[in-house]
């Protein structure tokens, strides 16, 4: 009877936490973002507002945590990129998949909400980079490093820059709705990136 108090509390807390985050997620996925209020989340979660404010300081933080929770549980393995030895086709596979993801309306709304919050809150942006962006970027950079070793990529290339050149155009086009995110477009980005950072020319 070491601690009768602890375990149930934690379990209870954890449970309401999950309910709230899941409610936030579903609201963000299905509605315009300005309808996603703390009151709406509390109502959907069947929870008092105070239970939300006890844990997070603002709507932004809840929504951020909700999105963050999505990618948690995913271990290093699961975010690893394919490595067939052929960088170009591996990247095209990944870029096409990424482009396709953006087409899902729920994912689109979720990501726009996330971007809205981090664009206007430096602290959240830092947390985003640390907890969400970095792990993904590291996985991608691992694949690039493998390509460098295989002589398929300039060994002096700044991998962060490579990632930006590869992904940022897709991101920007999506954010500003600047055009369709077709497989051809995904391929073109990979081609351009490989021309820019491919093996040093003779």
């Amino acid at each position: 009877m070491s601690n009768a108090k602890g375990p149930d509390h934690s379990r209870r807390k954890e449970r309401s936490r999950q309910v709230i985050l899941s409610a936030a997620r579903s609201l963000v996925a299905e509605q315009a973002y300005d309808k996603v209020t703390v009151e709406a989340i509390a109502a959907r979660a069947g929870v008092g507002k105070q239970t939300i404010y006890r844990r997070w300081p603002s709507r932004s933080a809840v929504v951020f945590a909700a999105v963050l929770a999505l990618s948690e549980g995913a271990d290093g393995q699961s975010v690893a990129l394919p490595d067939t030895g052929d960088l170009e086709s591996d990247l095209k596979l990944v870029m096409r998949a990424t482009a396709e993801e953006f087409a899902d309306p729920s994912f689109d709304r979720l990501l726009r909400a996330l971007n809205t919050e981090i664009a206007n809150d430096a602290a959240l942006a830092a947390e985003y980079r640390e907890k969400l962006a970095r792990p993904l970027d590291e996985a991608k950079k691992a694949r690039l490093r493998s390509a460098q070793e295989a002589g398929q990529l300039d060994p002096d290339a700044d991998l962060d820059l490579v990632l930006e050149v590869l992904y940022a155009p897709l991101f920007q086009r999506w954010l500003h709705r600047g055009g369709p995110l077709t497989p051809a477009y995904a391929d073109a980005l990979v081609d351009a990136t490989l021309r820019a950072f491919g093996p040093a020319r003779p």
Copy 2:
């Protein structure tokens, strides 16, 4: 003699319009965006709320119009890029200047507000592309076409793609505060772009 129709009437309307947009602009530049309320704009402009709602349907629209008005009056000339004949140095000049602009806190806030609105409103995004982005992009593409003719750029390059590869990384790094926007970074983007889309190799 310009137009017989309602000269003083128009002048009156135009004046209040300018006062409102200017008030919106100054508020956006100096405060957190969620303090930029319609009431605050009306108060700063010395105007009734209804006078704002008569013209624009929402805060988003006012703010957007305020930013838009900044770039109006600028004719084709004024947005033309330098053309010394040396594409690389011309682009580096422009990219460094762009990177520097983002460092201005007022401009930063203005642009974040703008991006927040257009990310969440497809109609506004379309207007943004049409009225703000396109004219600038056309000016840039004019410079690139000139480079193509001079044999400094692949004649088959998709110029929209070139622009995205050049600018999107800068934009993304700024939006997500992913790192400092140094001159070296600006140069690196130009270098990468030119490697990707430079003259066709032999």
Copy 3:
């Protein structure tokens, strides 16, 4: 040589005046009083707001004028009470008719609006007494004086008081919706009044 200034102007003015008052009257008669706004009157009259404000200082004044205009044109004759020589039956006739008038919803609304305004505006109340109440009261007092001469009423009775005792209960019961205004009730008031102010007892 009526007046050198704008003979037809007056006609124009007079016409719009009538249109406004009639619009006010019809609005008051058909809607809840708080929907009778100056804008609504102007719209119904097909008139600019300024045309109303040029003539009257407030909604109260317009409504008051509208009601007042109803009773204008009525000469002394037309408001004279019947005089058959039998005071009791003459008064009962009049009181029953008055009670019946209150039952008309349009008249009811009109009179409630009027009472609302004069209860809250001493100047309007004075004008009401002078222009609306007094002429009617004088007509009634004329009938009472005739009754005094005929020995049907105490020659020393204060006729203003007599009128109040006769009418005020009806007015109050109507204003506070204190009960039905039946013919029997009208008769009872006449009976009570005649008992109070009938011919002096021996």
Copy 4:
């Protein structure tokens, strides 16, 4: 221990209720009625507007409740009329006191506001009759019944009618500002009423 149901909850609610009604009362007593806005009441009470709208549907209802609250707590005793055995002098005492009350500017404003509301809202009028007018009328009728038993009043008289004949003239004169409410006027109303409804003649 008085009642198990919501003791502290009720106390909190009750407190804000009292603060609001008291603020409403003081505003009505000291200002023109159209300055008595819901916002003004909320501000004076140090309360959010919503707290008012949670309890009452409109300004009318608040003001009415404020006036109503004045007379609550008054038990049957406290509204009983004097009964010295002499109806005439008892009534004159009461009527003179009533006339005097109307002279107090605060009371005047309060009562005009109340009458404005009940004249334009049948539901409020019904509540007024039930909660305010009736208890007072019952107290008065009790005195009249005592007079009937003492042979000072016609035993067949309709007491509601007696009250109207007695009070309505005073009320009307006050509402329309038809003249001064002097003690002599109060006496004259009592005299007239007693002549109308005094003991049956031989």
